[in-house]
Amino acid sequence: MNKVVTVNLNGNAYSLEEPAYDALRAYLDGAEARLQGNPDRAEIMSDLEQAIADKCRRYLGPAKGVVGSADMERILAEMGPVEADAGEGEAASPQQGAGAPRPEAPRRLYQVQQGAMISGVCNGLAAYLNVDVTIVRVIFVALAFLTGGIWALVYLVMMFVVPDANTPEKRAAASGQPFNAQELVDRAKQHYAELREQGSRWHDDWRRRRRTRRAQRAAAAEREFWRNAGAYEDAGYATRLLAGFMVPVFTLLSAAIFVALVLAALSLLVTGGIFDWTLPVDIPEWAAIIILVIAYQALHQPLRAASRASYETTAGPRHGWLAAADGVLWLGFTALLFWLAYLLIPEVRSLFDDLRFEWRHLTLAWTGW
């Protein structure tokens, strides 16, 4: 005589002999453990229970109301072992390298898009060298200046050559963290399941919020516009005229400062000094260039603020067109000034000639290499 256990298999009640129950319990526990981390675990478990229930029904009849242990053995053999990730490929299979401790993943250079400014080259390099990304960026920008833009080409080449860290494995390899494939895959799946579950709810919610946000922003912009419009009407005719006159003046100044910066930097690179004035010995070239750039910013920032203010005074709150036209004007002034400097200042002329020579030298070295 055997004790009988009644179980609920996905909503179906079945009577099992106790050994049959134990075998089933062991099977389901094993399956559940193997599906650990699978986002669809609950669903797969109920599918499995349902399949077992269907098979139990086959073994039962009017004369037989209880599933015996031999029946259960056969049923479970038919079911077969539950595989964690059927057909998921080798990478995720836990058998690989089991036993032996996992060696630290080799560190590789990748482009890392998360938190990247342009393409993630600096970001990936920072991860690879294990330094702060800001340091790498500053060095890249400094190099770009020191090499007269050649370094930008290096960046461009790296953008195309260095592979993207577009998978969790690669992102981990970018900084060489020891990386447990199974764990990452599990985490990703967990994430995905949560997203899927909440996705539609979020989506609706987000759309509703975006609608109200947009409406609010439009209303605020409108209020702002009318307030500024009032201020704009208030500015006297003379003020507006003066501001309108100042717009191109500021632009001319800004272009002049820019041209001066570029010429000074080029002169530094080519001759090691700024025209006739040579550097004091103790300042290295790159430091001089950084100082130049800072000086340029110091002069340029107030100018920019002033020209923005005059846009607004001249053209009112909707001054985008004026800013755009002014940008074109700036380009024109810059080109004109370069041209005038080349024509009228002999030092600049020789600088450009030197530069042409330097460039030829460089391209020759490049093609030779």
Binding site: D47, E78, D85, A193
Partner: protein
């Protein structure tokens, strides 16, 4: 037996492709799939199939709908999504390439 073992991993790897083919051909539920595979070298079991189907559904290659059955509880009938169909087309093409390659490599160059 030894011959059988040489292709173990291939059979395993092909299962996903075959399931997609079966589902593309007919609206089926799990017992139908097992039945169709049972007479082939690719015979498999629920313990393998359910996790595989759930993975494919997560990848949005297939979906199911519940349908009443005359005998017993409602069943999940599987069908391919648009993504599943396009992936199957690619897999079919790739499979043909493999077949051609296998044939060609067996012939003298």
């Amino acid at each position: 037996m030894a011959i059988d073992e040489k292709f173990t991993s291939i059979r395993k790897g092909l299962l996903e492709f075959l399931i997609l083919r079966i589902i593309a051909a007919d609206k089926v539920y799990v017992a139908d799939m097992l039945e169709r595979l049972s007479k082939t070298p690719f015979a498999t079991q629920e313990g393998t199939l359910y996790p595989l189907l759930s993975k494919l559904r997560r990848e949005e290659l297939l979906d199911y709908e519940w349908q009443e059955s005359e005998a017993g509880p409602p069943r999940k009938y599987y069908k391919l999504t648009a993504k599943g169909r396009s992936q199957l087309a690619e897999l079919n093409r790739y499979w043909k390439q493999i077949n051609v390659t296998v044939e060609e490599l067996g012939q003298s160059a």
